[in-house]
Symmetry: C2
Subunit: 767 residues, 2 copies
Amino acid sequence: MNQDYIVPDNWSVIEEGFEPAHVRSSESLFSLGNGAMGQRANFEEDYSGSTFQGSYIAGVYYPDKTKVGWWKNGYPEYFAKVLNAPNWIGIQIEIDGENLDLKTCKSVANFRRELNMKEGWYKRSFQAVLPNDVEIQVNVLRFLSLEWNEVGAIRYQIRPLNKSVNVTWKPYVDSGIENKDTNWEEKFWKVDAIKQYKNAGFIQSHTLKTNFEVVTFMDNQVFLDGENLNLQPAAVTQEESKVQLSYSVSVGQDQTVVLQKFGGYVTSMNHAVENLFEAAQNAIDRANQLGFETLLSNQIEDWDRIWQMSDITIEGDVKAQQGIRFNIFHLNQTYSGKDSRLNIGPKGFTGEKYGGSTYWDTEAYCIPFYMATKDQNVARNLLAYRYNQLEKAIENAEKLGFSNGAALYPMVTMNGEECHNEWEITFEEIHRNGAIAFAIFNYTRYTEDESYIPEKGLEVLIGIARFWHQRATFSTHKNKYVILGVTGPNEYENNVNNNWYTNYIAKWCIDYTVQQIENVAQKFGSDYTRIMNKAKLSQAEISEWKKVADNMYFPYSEEHGVFLQQDGFLDKELVSVANLDKAQRPINQKWSWDRILRSPYIKQADTLQGFYFFEDHFTREELKKHFDFYEPFTVHESSLSPCVHSIQAAVLDRMEQAYTFYLRTSRLDLDDYNKEVHEGLHITSMAGTWMSIVEGFGGMRVKNGTLSFDPKIPAEWQSYSFKVNFRNRIFKVQVSQSGTEIFVDGDQNIAIQLNGESFEAKALLNI
Amino acid sequence: MNQDYIVPDNWSVIEEGFEPAHVRSSESLFSLGNGAMGQRANFEEDYSGSTFQGSYIAGVYYPDKTKVGWWKNGYPEYFAKVLNAPNWIGIQIEIDGENLDLKTCKSVANFRRELNMKEGWYKRSFQAVLPNDVEIQVNVLRFLSLEWNEVGAIRYQIRPLNKSVNVTWKPYVDSGIENKDTNWEEKFWKVDAIKQYKNAGFIQSHTLKTNFEVVTFMDNQVFLDGENLNLQPAAVTQEESKVQLSYSVSVGQDQTVVLQKFGGYVTSMNHAVENLFEAAQNAIDRANQLGFETLLSNQIEDWDRIWQMSDITIEGDVKAQQGIRFNIFHLNQTYSGKDSRLNIGPKGFTGEKYGGSTYWDTEAYCIPFYMATKDQNVARNLLAYRYNQLEKAIENAEKLGFSNGAALYPMVTMNGEECHNEWEITFEEIHRNGAIAFAIFNYTRYTEDESYIPEKGLEVLIGIARFWHQRATFSTHKNKYVILGVTGPNEYENNVNNNWYTNYIAKWCIDYTVQQIENVAQKFGSDYTRIMNKAKLSQAEISEWKKVADNMYFPYSEEHGVFLQQDGFLDKELVSVANLDKAQRPINQKWSWDRILRSPYIKQADTLQGFYFFEDHFTREELKKHFDFYEPFTVHESSLSPCVHSIQAAVLDRMEQAYTFYLRTSRLDLDDYNKEVHEGLHITSMAGTWMSIVEGFGGMRVKNGTLSFDPKIPAEWQSYSFKVNFRNRIFKVQVSQSGTEIFVDGDQNIAIQLNGESFEAKALLNI
């Protein structure tokens, strides 16, 4: 771990003491989001120290012109960038004419941040002595309403401690923001109009190229010792891209003055452009009608409902408890499942690195979490997102020379178009197609929703099967089909031949698609006819697919009894990570790319990812052999790595190792394992953390329609519990050092197994 | 071929008729250079049609900030760009107030360009009717003095054909130029001072970052019907980065008015910065003293001297004759060998694509040409260029994780630093190190200069041997040393394992270095001690090198009886180029990169490059097998490809194929085979053209100190002849359909073979 300043607490993320070097890290960790918008935990008041100002609106992006050194045919012209959005939280504050800025204060004491995950709010408090020797106590509370997701609220409280002062509040909305992550240092926003009315300020601006129209708004009230002063702004400043109000209040020593600010966004994704100002005013009116306290208590209730279903409790290990709740909290802040146009960006609302909102992370890591802790429509919406982008995936494959409806989903996307531009990833990391098919299988297996495949999924599967059929080539030398020139999940290998994972999932995709075609033919005749006609798919073509699937080559080492990650893996210098000089780690920061590529080191589960997806295709002995062969070469320099290894270590009864991996995945950002938390959080891997408890320690599996558990518990824990929604029944699994209890709501006539034995459900207990 | 508008001629490149679509192509083909500066064949007068204005100064470059999509550790921070330099050829011309611009003329007739390669000048003539109906005859002669290489001369002649007119000449010098090839669209030049004195104009400007100071100058004289009017400028315009003079002359119908313009550059590479204006004035004074005609006749004499030695004659095939002279002419325009700081840029003075001046092309393709047609010091200077950059090569290797004096020469460089930034090339195309060692061997073998290795070469060899020793790794699986993750000469493969060519030349480098260490130890004791101490090289280390060389792995196919280009080559779909749909060609313009990579198609000789370098390590039968296996997969999409294949086809007595390859290499630019001549010429491959005659058809080899020839002649030719300087004796080889004659100057007691028989040299004949 690289930092440990976060105070362990069961329900909150807490920072104590003001340390400027932690500001950007904490801005990430204390981020707020409500599925529709979010922002880093930037200070509301001015801060002249090092900071990374970031506000984000779900689904609003900018197609930045691709930057490459050397253009390759097939590169996308644009890279969909996550957009830093106008800032509505800003409040400049003058105390007796002195600007409040923690960087310039004579002293800052009792600085404390708390992100209360249980109730969904963020609080900051401190005492500061300003350059003019005024001493003040500050408390700031901020939250983004889950219920009214266009609105956020700030209550900024100041109490002068050593004298009576004049406080000038200057709340503002600013659209003059620039992306941290931009290819050409261009501005992405253009201001259309600025309005000001009573205590409110509005800026209408649109994104260049994509023309998302957004009205960013604020409304302000000033209170003294709890009483609304009903002030009107003493001054209004409108600049090119900023509107700022000003309120001055005389505040006696030990009196408390409060600026209450509501703010947020209304966008053309959800309103007609001509109604945006009205929609913004409506949002303000609603917030004012409800009032800060009611909005807050609703917020607490809404978060309580989320936790009712998705909480995981851990007793006896507060850091582990804090870690899992931190992960679950941010997942829920990032994606609510309400809007099928949205997806789960790798940094959520906490940063803008990577760009794009959708990676294979969604299918491989996130779907299990949303599937088990939300209504199953949420997972279905995530699948439908890919169905809605099928045509673009077919176009994408055509750009790369494929035909006949073969679909290659993009590595990174915002709207279905590829927006990544490294040939070794964009063109070669094609296993992503496999995860998208696997998610359809996984969803169907888990939910028993038989309608998705005939309605939507089968068309996606056919496009994917066609891709694999065309992408594999026949090696006369091997007398097998081979898949040349790929990058597997282990991105520390590029352009390799016969990556076992890719070959395996390619074969599986074809087999599964053929099976589903037969199933739909039998059970959903009219869907079958519609799909076969639309796809112009013949039995002859299916036979060609099968030839590839039935004769796929898998690299294997007789000597080691393992499948090889790719052809030639054994030619490497097989020095384990344990024997690698620590000064060389992390290798992605210390080594040139060629050195990484020719090393045996594995960024994240690759062959083992296949053993995770297809666990029941292999024996426990086989898993053990492969784990023992590959894990020692694994550097876990991807956030997606520890979770899969934690699950497999648990399967292999290596609880100490499983626990170490668990801590690493659950506290990846809290403890900043990868030295990059200041850039934002690793949102998608947080779902992997959830899996490492539910599927790893809890041993949850679904086989042949039966839900089973094989619970284990780390020695460090007294107990843990989690809930899953399985086929619209809720199960609570309570595991302690002395045994496991399972509770189920509603009808108990459902096949369940515990440790391989069929299970008799106890009465529903408080769920 | 993609164009055929160049008129076949033995000694000149000729274009007849004005075709705006050909302008940019002709600007490349008719380029002038004198080793120190050069420029594209841009019109002197204004031209509002499509044009690519380009002037270049040898050695003057700009380190453009590297542009990549995704930064990798080890990438160089800067890319040394060939710099588009200030323009001194420009002359705006007004005829009765109407600007002369071929794009706007009512008609253009008898347009003709001629690049007279024999005499080293470029002439353009045309008749035009201007928008104001004035009809004029124009003749322009331009050359860049070989003798006074800071000066060029233009004689611009106008004759009004249908009326008396007023001609206003507005010659200028312009430093406001921009690079065509720039990463960030920045300007590379900053103007320091502009001066004007009598008929001269000067601009002093410097390159940003590198601070090369350059004074670009001009001096003008106006003549009417041959008489110098001794005009002073009627007006002088000084703009921010331009100085322009103006002369007005009344010209009667059928009178001839001439603007004679001398211009050029003096730079801080050759003069103290404070003396630059004086140096420029001196250059002008000297040119004026000599006068245009004397400069021109000197030019003709100087080119005659070059041709005396380097000409290749071909009888019976004017296109072949024009092709080879075009190649030899541009090689001599690009690099004179006078200045060891310079090298042979891939586009010479004809364009700015690629950047950098030095590639492995110099060692692999260019050295044989300069070695055989120039004083041997020229080739020695080219070797010394790398010796002078040895420290940078060691630093470069250190950046990639190597140590102990291992040297990796850059893929592309201007000053010894790497300036390429694609990981698959920069970090992996390491075979370039082998060519640099091979050139030392080749030079020593050819010249018998025993001093270079003890003085300089051995240190380079040691750095290179150390690199290979460290770069190879031991495969316990193969029980051999392997070289993983490389790009071979065939850049249509990236990150492959055990590229045969790379492995072979790595082993050879070590063996050769060890042998040279022993040789220096025996013959040059003090050098030996100095070098071993400087390099801190022990016998123990040498033994470690030998282990690698003696146990190197070479991929081989028993089935085909050939070495494999790399591991796994046989897994590809081995469809020959002949069976590839023509609509898919060239694949580098039609296919995405992954598709190219997994195909069997070869950009340029790879395994066969090894058979070219090390021909005598293999039997003719082995060469035949490898040629027959690899050539059918070769798409020759590198300009460096046809020449090697031409040589090998000739060895294999496949004269028809050899001739086809010869035409392709010699007329690559004239006929624009690769559809890119408008970007500039392929200078380095021109040396390959020379090799394809001398080593291919002529069969020249040096073995054990003996010069041998095995001449063949294409059916299309009556005869051909070439000369080589071998160990300071000049041989002329005259091959006709009826036999071969060899002439030698000076002492004839030298071992020579013709067709395997020892040869009795005839008396020197006119050489």
